[in-house]
């Protein structure tokens, strides 16, 4: 049975993150906790981060949602762990541009997240992909205040 159309969305690496999520759980010693949900569909995420001197030392997520939202959370946490805050926020901006099908900066190492670029062809699913990233941005900005 041909699945060509679907495989632009559900790339193998995405399904791998969905079925074997990285950084799943809640940090006991985190200093940032963000709960976010997508009210239109019921997906939800809890993101815990440990930030020290402007660096994301550790990060975990737990939640419920579709393959795209959970794979995106897994990829995002893998990518930002160990990075400084500014880089994480820059990656969030790059991700946002990529997911909307815009030109995006490729000078940074994007890890697995480029596999999600196909989501831009499925407008109804863009919000699934951005949930974890919005949580991360909100968490990091809240530390500024």
């Amino acid at each position: 049975m041909p699945f060509n159309n679907l495989e632009t969305l559900y790339r193998q690496v995405i399904m791998d993150h969905y079925k074997k999520p990285r950084n799943k759980g809640v940090l006991d010693d985190g200093n940032v906790t963000i709960d976010m949900n997508n009210p239109t569909c019921g997906d939800r995420i809890r993101l815990t981060m440990k930030e020290e001197d402007g660096k994301i030392v550790d990060v975990k997520f737990e939640g419920e949602g579709c393959s795209i939202s959970m794979a995106s959370a897994s990829m995002m946490t893998s990518l930002i762990k160990g990075k400084d805050k500014e880089t994480a926020l820059k990656l969030a901006q790059i991700f946002s541009e990529m997911i909307q099908g815009k030109e995006y900066d490729t000078s940074l190492d994007l890890g697995d997240i480029e596999a999600l670029s196909g989501v831009s062809k499925f407008p109804a699913r863009i919000k699934c992909a951005t949930l974890a990233w919005k949580a991360m941005e909100k968490g990091l900005y809240s530390r500024d205040n």
Partner: protein, 409 residues
């Protein structure tokens, strides 16, 4: 009656989506509209667009006549006693909010009770939550049986002498459950409570007789019953509408306006401030004509056949769970399900690539999702234009979704 003939009246169905002929199974979200409804909107705007109940010119009279004829058409459709009891609104949500604001918040006191059910759509839940908070009344819930129906014993036990309002959906937008409104109304009235019915998922599918149901308020939406978006109805018994306060003030709803006080027009216009939804009402009347020309006998029979066939096909799919009553005489319109190991959004995306439109999510019923112990579900819903082939395509699409998520990686 032939479904192919009916489908000719819905040209939108005759298109390809993602390279496949469209299968539209999302009528519970909004139904498609027949040509006659579209033509009625067009001829109003091209022929006699004018404001109603105002000037004396010819087009204005024509528009007023059509608008008020639509009200009479709705009166007959739900068998209200008079057109005074038929208020045009923006839709079910607006109608229910008007009751919560203009009746509940005005007449409820601390200690009074509002009773609703766990299966309510947010639009028949949040207005009551807010009214309870504002008045100090208590919000209570009818529990559900394991098959997603209400038991009359629970209804009798939940409604007390303190209960002032019982608000209940006629048909659940998730479970498809048809609730025994007439029996609930009898119990409520014995205790002195009024009954508010959310008819959004009922009016499109079977005849509604508000006098027979003996409900006090009934709300419905035009766009779910083959009519345009933006038009709905609030039915209320005359004596209640007379007591009820208007929620919106302004032009058209007044009798006399003085500097520091004003008086309201008689029913139903005291509830229709501003320029009403003229084209919407005219389109809704045309949708009612269409439903009657096909006939509810045919519509009900056809939809029951679709439902029975959908049950037969979907129950064969390994790992598929159907929610709501298995007794098909107790349900209408929707079939909600989950596929083991595949999130409903992913199911909906796979189906969409096959040209099949369903709904996935919480269906504006988060408390019910919690009761079902799921965060989201997939839902296919029917109307008179759906075919047995649509159900075949749905079943094939679901098998494909399952294969894709189980074997493609």
């Amino acid at each position: 009656m032939d479904v192919r003939k009916i489908r000719e009246q819905f040209p939108i169905l005759n298109q390809e989506v993602n390279g496949h002929p469209l299968v539209y199974l999302d009528s519970a979200a909004t139904s498609q509209k027949p040509l006659s409804v579209l033509k009625a909107l067009d001829s109003y705007y091209t022929g006699y667009n004018s404001n109603v109940h105002r000037g004396v010119h010819t087009l204005g009279t024509k528009a007023t006549d059509a608008y008020e004829a639509a009200r009479e058409k709705v009166r007959q459709f739900i068998n209200a006693k008079s057109t005074e009891e038929v208020v045009f609104t923006r839709g079910t949500t607006t109608s229910l909010n008007m009751i919560a604001y203009g009746y509940a918040r005005v007449f409820l006191k601390p200690g009074d009770e509002i009773v609703i059910s766990i299966m309510e759509h947010h639009s028949n839940l949040i207005p009551w939550q807010q009214a309870a908070k504002a008045t100090g009344a208590t919000l209570k819930y009818f529990p559900l049986q394991s098959d997603g129906t209400l038991s009359m014993d629970d209804v009798k036990n939940t409604i007390t002498d303190k209960t002032k309002i019982v608000a209940i959906t006629h048909v659940s937008n998730v479970l498809g459950t048809i609730n025994p409104i007439k029996d609930i109304a009898r119990v409520a009235h014995e205790k002195g409570a009024i009954v508010v019915v959310d008819g959004a998922q009922a009016a499109p599918h079977f005849p509604v007789d508000v006098q027979d149901l003996n409900c006090d308020f009934y709300a419905l939406s035009g766009h779910k019953m083959l009519g345009p978006t933006g038009i709905g109805v609030l039915y209320g018994k005359k004596e209640l509408l007379e007591k009820m306060e208007p929620v919106e003030f302004g032009g058209e709803m007044i009798d006399f306006v003085e500097l520091y006080d004003s008086t309201w027009k008689e029913l139903p216009w005291k509830f229709e401030a501003g320029t009403p939804i003229i084209a919407g009402a005219i389109g809704l009347a045309e949708a009612i004509d269409f439903l009657h020309s096909v006939g509810f006998d045919y519509i009900q029979k056809h939809e029951q056949e679709l439902m029975a066939y959908a049950f037969e096909k979907l129950e064969k799919i390994d790992g598929l769970t159907i929610y709501g009553p298995k007794d098909l005489t107790k349900r209408s319109g929707v079939i909600t399900f989950n596929l083991d190991g595949v999130h409903p959004h992913d199911v909906a995306t796979v189906l969409d690539t096959e040209g099949i439109a369903i709904r996935a999510g919480h269906h504006c019923a988060q408390p019910l999702m919690k009761w079902l112990k799921v965060t989201a579900t997939a839902r296919a819903s029917f109307h008179v234009y759906n075919t047995m082939e649509d159900i075949d395509r749905l079943a094939e699409g679901l098998v494909k979704s399952k294969e894709f998520f189980t074997h493609a990686f």
